[in-house]
């Protein structure tokens, strides 16, 4: 479990041009924009 975490994280850090955090922020902002302009009208829960 933990060996895998270390290896995956290292590999990802060395190859990513935008970090995981960066992509998460991009997705969240894109979704917010889609909600604001009305592309996403109602999200049920």
């Amino acid at each position: 479990m933990s060996d895998g975490v270390v290896k995956e994280e290292r590999k990802a850090r060395s190859t990513r041009w935008l970090s995981l955090d960066g992509w998460a922020v991009v997705l969240a902002l894109a979704l917010s924009l889609a909600v604001w302009v009305g592309l996403i009208k109602q999200v049920p829960w």
């Binding site: 290292r10 998460a24 917010s32 999200v43 829960w45």
Partner: protein, 363 residues
């Protein structure tokens, strides 16, 4: 020209293969999380139909328990692994979207108090864990990793520190296993203690945000208590995460001096590299929401998007917890971690009691 064709095609193929490899795992995260929702609703509907006062067990717990059962009985086939690893991505996207549910004033107020408490927690935890590691004869780098993992932010802090102090993979694996195992235990212990002490949503959320190490477990433990507690827990943990760069930098300098390895030339660039960017995204969305850009229905939609992202995360928390792994890790680091966590939990509970009267915000 020909070389252009030769390079572009493999890149797009590689990307689509990568995205395709994520689908089974993400589908499993959704299936497990949604199964938790169905169980929660079914129990509530059964209670209503039969006029029974059944306890409301949130989908969060069901999702984690189903994930734990799958991971520790039938196991997870390799095909699901890339997609399961995205649980942390959903967690961070969910936290950024959660910013829409906070007014910036509340973020600054609670974040400010949390930062003060975080500073106390970090100093005491680092000193205590270091002393404990020495007393139990752990190697100094493993002690450092355990100290950073339990005082700031779990796996991310351990990985960042490992790179900065050049610790062995085995030490990092050991520290991560101990922190994840203790996080899984905290998930169940914190809500029980919170209910036993009749903590308010706010106090409990702050306690979970300060006392539990990994962001995913903090979010789950907060939401297990209540939606409002989940919000406060995430905010307090976000304040804690913001400190990661400073502590890692401090340790990097300490170990570089001790081992006479290369010094860090650009400290500001180092801090920026280690700083968790989703904290900035969270603040940005909170500022936009505070400015009144979103309507009421839009805010509800953003809050629900955040909930769906967390649903995938909670399923991931259960699915990646391997109980058998606990036994393999040996006893000493686990004892050091456990003792440290108990002391930190008690300390942060005391801090929260002390700070409670400064924290009257609308959640």
């Amino acid at each position: 020209m020909a070389s252009g064709v030769l390079t572009v095609e493999p890149v797009s193929e590689n990307l689509s293969r990568k995205i395709g490899s994520l689908i089974p795992g993400v589908a499993l995260l959704f299936a497990v999380g949604y199964a938790g929702r169905i169980i929660e609703r079914s129990i509530a509907n059964y209670g209503k139909a039969h006029h029974l006062a059944l306890p409301n067990i949130e989908y969060v717990l069901w999702a984690i328990v189903i994930g734990l059962l799958i991971a520790n009985t039938v196991g997870i086939p390799k095909i699901f692994e890339p997609g399961l690893a995205t649980y942390e991505f959903w967690l961070k996207a969910g936290i950024v979207l959660l910013g829409s549910r906070f007014l910036l004033g509340d973020v600054l107020k609670l974040g400010g108090v949390s930062l003060g408490l975080v500073a106390i927690e970090i100093v005491v935890s680092l000193l205590f864990m270091t002393a404990l590691g020495k007393a139990f004869g752990l190697n100094p780098k493993l002690t450092t990793l355990l100290a950073v993992g339990s005082s700031i932010c779990g796996v991310s802090a351990i990985i960042a520190t490992q790179g900065a102090i050049d610790a062995d993979d085995e030490d990092a694996s050991y520290a991560i296993a101990a922190i994840l195992s203790l996080g899984a235990i905290s998930l169940f212990v914190f809500p029980l203690v919170g209910h036993w002490l009749h903590l308010s949503d706010q106090s409990y959320g702050l306690w979970a945000g300060l006392g539990i190490d990994n962001t995913a477990e903090v979010t789950a433990a907060g939401n297990l208590y209540s939606d409002a507690a989940g919000k406060v827990a995430v905010l307090a943990k976000t304040a804690r995460n913001a400190m990661i760069g400073f502590v890692v930098l401090g340790y990097a300098i300490h170990w570089a001096r001790k081992e006479h390895t290369k010094e860090i030339e650009n400290k500001a660039a180092f801090l920026w590299k280690k700083f968790p960017k989703f904290v900035l995204g969270f603040l940005l969305i909170s500022a936009i929401a505070t400015a009144g850009v979103f309507g009421k229905d839009q805010l509800t939609s953003l809050a629900n998007l955040s909930r769906w992202a967390f649903l995938l995360t909670f399923a991931g928390v259960g699915l990646r917890t391997n109980i058998r792994e606990l036994g393999k890790q040996g006893l000493r680091p686990f004892v050091v971690g456990t003792l440290g966590e108990i002391v930190i939990a008690a300390l942060t509970l005391g801090l929260v009691y002390g700070a409670d009267r400064f924290l009257k915000i609308g959640t």
